[in-house]
Symmetry: C2
Subunit: 387 residues, 2 copies
């Protein structure tokens, strides 16, 4: 098949699904109470890290996800960083993360002085599988008194961070079982999966805690923002303490009992988040409908497959994903350029994290599937406003 | 003198100056284009880390301060952290900072894996003096090939961070001279001093770079926010790169060439900042007028002195500051409680940083003046809206 014909077929299928000649990859929608809540916030003068909007936003996330506790922070990276710190990840530890992820997952590990240890993902879910994790840890680690030691490096493997790629849930029950077997804490990178459910439970609530992101390109946005969700009260208190400079509560005294962070979400950003949460169910139904339209319009297009949720999951379809056939994956960049040239914003997955200069020497499993997926993934326009 | 009489005299003086029965320590004022710019921002859908408001806000700060480059970030702590990283501060280094400061100054140092080394401040400016710094470094360090080594620890002393306490400029020319003599880079903690000038130059522009804060309690606010200002183009590029996950610019490829941070200010916060910058001259003239009113009303009140700017400076008077006479400094907490009980929010300075648990074992000079000031400082209501 000629690359030109494939590009034409893809562009025609996108056009047929969304009925627009141009579209960005992901734009936010503000059709709710955003301006009303911003006005309330400005008029109250409470725009900073203390205010009713932060509480309202946290409560809305708690109600929606079913997580008992929510700590809103400045972004998803901060949510991951605090999740690791609050779970005792420290200097010299290793943390298992997928090689196929945004760089923030690795950066958060490195901020703790720990080392990311890269795992392959499976082709069906684009996330780390329980079977693979079990086999891999069996082959490279030893568990002593409930502590998992990397045989090659001698370091403690402290945690695993499954990431719900493009919104599609990982096999959380399986991963949790393996994590427990090896004494690892499981922290979910749910940055992309607000509104995605695994066997009826919200992503981020199966592990010890989950990190959400509300960056401008996410399913809801607060400008910049993130949150940690958890059912563990002590962990939630620790997270909040670390996010507010570890200051001991007092009307006017300034005492801080550990190294803390200025990570609390400002009230003004939470005002937008509160309005966005009210619209989240609509965003999700639009994004699921967009998937259905793409499924119809891409039906019969040779050379590409539309990635679909697993039967055990209900995905938010944050980013719609095409998989190029393996035989033509060397044409990926030409295809992406052809789509962008036409007027639709398309992009590949992230470059694998173990290829990045700061992470080139970190431990890694065989990454066969990740390498294959990296060469086959193309994300196409995914905004909820396209419906 | 009875503590009760002193409290009564202080409360009467505050009342006389501001003509209000209650007042918080510092509240922001939003009387400008805040809502208009927020609306513009929401309607554009650019609320996140790319957008015209960020550029406009940075340009407004550049015009106002005279700094050639401005990089807006999520808060003042992030501004300090990046300033240290971009100037090469790393693991094992020591960084000189005043013991009398907010904990963020020490935290930013510790995030780099470096150790804060605490300095005393002088009584006249409440900041580190050049004479003290020179004598201290002479006595505890050796300069080898332009590198300053702490004789006791063997560590490199890489940088000094003067902090402009409550908005009052440090003696920057003197400190810069000493910093150069010992091969230290000078980074200004100008978190409190937007609108404060030293010999006609804006604070933050004399050292290699300066860190500003726009937290809710600062002279202008963006909810949460900060910025680094500098005249050094390479440094500015490095700061921006580090603040945007160290991503190499490309339309759709994701390559990051070092460990970066998610520190860029969101457009929605910059929208407020742009409106606040338009009001800054008015805020400053109000705060300087408030000082004048306090000076009149506190004239003749025994036991307290109102802290005033140095003759070489023009201060923003961010927080109005009373100094208790030394003889009654043991009554500080009773006095503060009496003021708060009346209805005016008052507070002491921060507890000295070397008293905080995470910093208790860090190197420190003799801290005689800092200990004295800590026991004598009381901040009183300072909002520009009190005029």
């Amino acid at each position: 098949m000629k690359t030109e014909s494939l590009v034409s077929a893809i562009n025609a299928s996108i056009l047929s699904a969304i009925d627009l000649r141009t579209a960005t990859l992901h734009a936010p929608t503000f059709n709710g109470n955003e301006m009303a809540y911003l006005k309330e916030c400005i008029e109250s003068t409470y725009v900073s890290s203390v205010g009713a909007m932060v509480t309202d936003f946290e409560e809305a996330i708690s109600r929606y996800t079913g997580a008992k506790y929510v700590v809103a922070v400045v972004n998803g990276t901060a949510a991951l960083h605090l999740s690791l710190l609050a779970n005792g990840v420290g200097a010299g530890d290793e943390v298992l993360i997928p090689a196929l992820s945004f760089v923030a997952t690795a950066n958060a590990v490195s901020y703790c002085g720990a080392t990311p240890h890269f795992l392959d993902v499976d082709l069906r879910r684009m996330t780390v599988s329980a079977e693979f994790l079990d086999e891999y840890l069996e082959s490279i680690s030893t568990v002593n008194n409930g502590i998992c030691i990397n045989n090659a490096t001698g370091s403690v493997i402290r945690a695993i961070i499954p990431m719900h790629t493009f919104g599609h849930p990982a096999d959380l029950d399986g991963l949790q079982r393996v994590a427990q077997k090896y004494g690892l804490v499981m922290i979910e990178d749910a940055a992309e999966s607000l509104g995605s459910w695994y066997k009826g439970r919200h992503t981020g609530t199966v592990g010890k805690c989950g990190a959400l992101s509300f960056n401008g390109n996410k399913i809801i946005t607060t400008g910049g923002g993130g949150a940690v969700i958890t059912d563990d009260e002590n962990l939630a208190q620790k997270l909040k303490h670390l996010s507010t400079t570890a200051k001991i509560a007092h009307q006017w005294k300034y005492v801080h009992d550990e190294i803390g962070y200025n990570y609390r979400m400002p009230n003004i950003n939470a005002a937008i988040g509160k309005a966005q949460m009210e619209q989240l169910p609509g965003f999700i139904s639009n994004k699921r409908e967009l998937f259905n339209r793409y499924r119809q319009s891409f039906d019969g297009v040779d050379g590409v497959t539309l990635f679909a949720e697993s039967p055990d999951s209900c995905s938010n379809y944050w980013l719609q994903t095409l998989l190029l056939d393996k035989s033509i994956s060397d044409k990926r960049d030409q295809v992406i350029e052809g789509i962008n040239l036409f007027g639709f914003h398309a992009r590949p997955a992230w470059s694998l994290l173990n290829r990045m200069k700061p992470y080139a020497l970190c431990p890694a499993s065989d990454l066969e599937n990740s390498i294959e997926l990296e060469s086959r993934i193309i994300n196409i326009p995914s905004s909820s406003s396209l419906i």
